[in-house]
């Protein structure tokens, strides 16, 4: 059935709530209001206020309470209203949740959902992509779906996973992207990238909304005789290095593309791994396309200049193809 990215996430959570009474939700405005983006719409009526908990505006307490409930055998799914506010719960995520299994063998099976990303005129505090902070934290898993199918499969896998998962949902995809989503139960395994599009001449390694930018650019490049392979990472931590390396070994050229800012972003990490482990296969430098090192601006002219897009990718790809 043709389903939006948002509806796919909603269905995934709904099915898990039906399947397992230990799954419950907590966050700001997720109950009566159904969530700022309506991802949890209808759930309060179906599951009641003990399983759909409207909390005070307290991100640290939301994450902390999710950890405590997970210790008691529950499967909490916490919502950050915007990924930008996850900073207020940062200590609970990186110091409490991420380290408790390693330190004292106490698993914290919880999901923190974080609507992220720009292109919606949200300005500096409603548009960020903070995934790199969490990818730098051993003990966490970091997930970001690009398609409706993966959105449902990955949220279900995240809820069932026995480690803490930070689940980034790209806001610009919520209602823009549609795809076939089976009604039945399925999961998409965490830690596995997908080959979103097969190609021969160049690999674009990306995730989230940028997968669709890459797909559009690939169509143009195909007309120009350049065959592009797109790797959608899906899980950013742990990273599926094998899928990335085998693509690059085949195409010999690579661009890492992400919407988050350049310095300290995943592009540097992926570029390093490719040059360390697939150097002999490379026919050109590994390029990065990312947002520039600025806050996310508000004015449409500035935001357009900030976000990576098809034009910017084409420029990099043409240069690399000619290298």
């Amino acid at each position: 059935m043709e389903t939006t990215y948002l509806e796919a996430i909603r269905k995934g959570i709904w099915e898990e709530m039906e399947r397992d009474p230990k799954v419950f939700l907590l966050g700001e405005d997720i109950g009566i209001y159904g969530g700022a983006f309506k991802v949890t719409a209808g759930m309060l009526d179906r599951f009641g206020e003990e399983r759909v908990v409207d909390t005070p505006i307290s991100e640290s307490a939301i994450v902390g309470a999710a950890i405590g409930a997970s210790f008691m055998g529950m499967r909490p799914v916490a919502e950050m209203q915007f990924a930008d506010f996850i900073t207020c719960g940062f200590d609970q995520i990186v110091n409490f949740a991420a380290k408790c299994r390693y330190r004292w063998n106490a698993p914290a099976p919880l999901v923190v959902r974080a609507p992220s990303g720009g292109g919606i005129h949200g300005g500096p505090f409603h548009s960020q992509n903070p995934e790199a902070w969490f990818v730098h934290t051993p003990g966490l898993k970091v997930v970001q779906p690009a398609t409706a199918y993966d959105a449902k499969g990955l949220i279900k896998a995240s809820i069932r996973d026995n480690d803490p998962v930070i689940f980034f949902e790209h806001k610009a995809l919520y209602r823009k992207i549609k795809g076939e989503v089976p009604e039945e139960d399925y999961t998409v395994e965490l830690g596995k990238a997908s080959v979103f599009r097969e190609g021969r001449d160049m690999s674009v390694i990306t995730y989230g909304a940028m997968v669709h930018v890459a797909a559009e650019a690939a169509e143009v490049l195909e007309q120009e005789g350049v065959s592009v392979e797109i790797i959608d990472l899906r899980t950013l931590l742990p990273m599926d290095e094998e899928t990335v390396l085998s693509s690059v070994r085949k195409t010999s050229k690579a661009i890492v593309l992400h919407e988050a800012t350049l310095t300290g972003g995943l592009g540097g990490e992926l570029s390093a791994r490719i040059t360390e482990k697939a150097f002999e296969s490379l026919d050109g430098p590994v390029l990065r396309l990312a947002a520039p090192d600025t806050p996310v601006p508000y004015a449409p002219t500035l935001e357009k200049a900030f976000l990576p897009d098809v034009e910017k990718l084409l420029e990099k790809a043409r240069w690399l193809a000619a290298y």
Partner: protein, 337 residues
Amino acid sequence: MAAVKPVSPLMDAGTNTEAGLSLRFLYYMSLMREVEDRIERKLYRQGKILGGVYVGRGQEAICVGAGLVAEPDDVLFPCHRDLGLYFIRGIGPAEVLAQYMGRVGGLTQGRDGNMHMGDLKRRIVAIISAMAASVPVAAGAAMALKQQRSRNIVFVFFGDGATSRGDWHEGINLAAVQKAPLVLICNNNQYAYSTPTEKQMSCEHVADRAPGYGIPAEMVDGNDAWAVYEATQRAADHARQGLGPYLIECKTFRMTGHSAHDGADYVPKHLWEEWGAKDPIARMENLMLDRGYAAREDLESLQDQIRRQVDEAVAWAEASPYPEPETLARNVYEESR
């Protein structure tokens, strides 16, 4: 039921008569004092404990008085000056000492040090270093127990300094709104590291903060195990009845520096003398002698027995090896079996 075995055969006889409870208070407080004295004044100085050492000398009545109210399946969130809670939960001095020494016999098998230890099977949760971070986590555990229709409740412990952290306020507020069964126990030992309470907060008591969250609070003499026990019973009854969180502020004094390396020169001398005279262990001994619960020889033999128990525990911990470097990357994530 959680597997709670007494750490001493003596405690098998522990009953809830006044005499029996007094003996249990004395035993756990004395064991805590002896273990922490070895840690802070001997093993640390011998270089056998490499990292930080934070003890609860002078404050033993708080964790012991409150801890003996908790039922075996109630959940405990100790702070770093609540060693007695571990003994009450059946974790022995040997495991604790090995933990401090970074040995595999320790509760975290060398993954973490000092009071950063817990055991979910025994329903005792490890702190992290950030003060009050346990409070929202405890609130969530309490919410889960309520949702599970459990009769069990949660006890979270913290110091006066921790009440300055946002986590403390967020956690209490959430628990209060949710009417979660949470007992909040503050050891107000008057110093947060070197900073006195008047520089932490402009209200006089930590308990003054409770009305802001719509929860009851009371203050007790934190050096009187019986007073702490009775206040905690009131708090636990309140929580078990579904009435929500309850705050107890235990007035006490930290009879040492913040940590083993801190000489605490910033503490006025008269405070050491004043609070030294209120020592909770000496007070419990005097109470037991006055009421005829024990004779002087009984008390001496108890202390002897504890010293021998701790001697054996130190030897066991020192014999426990350091973890193998090859185990470094294990258990970061769930591992397939």
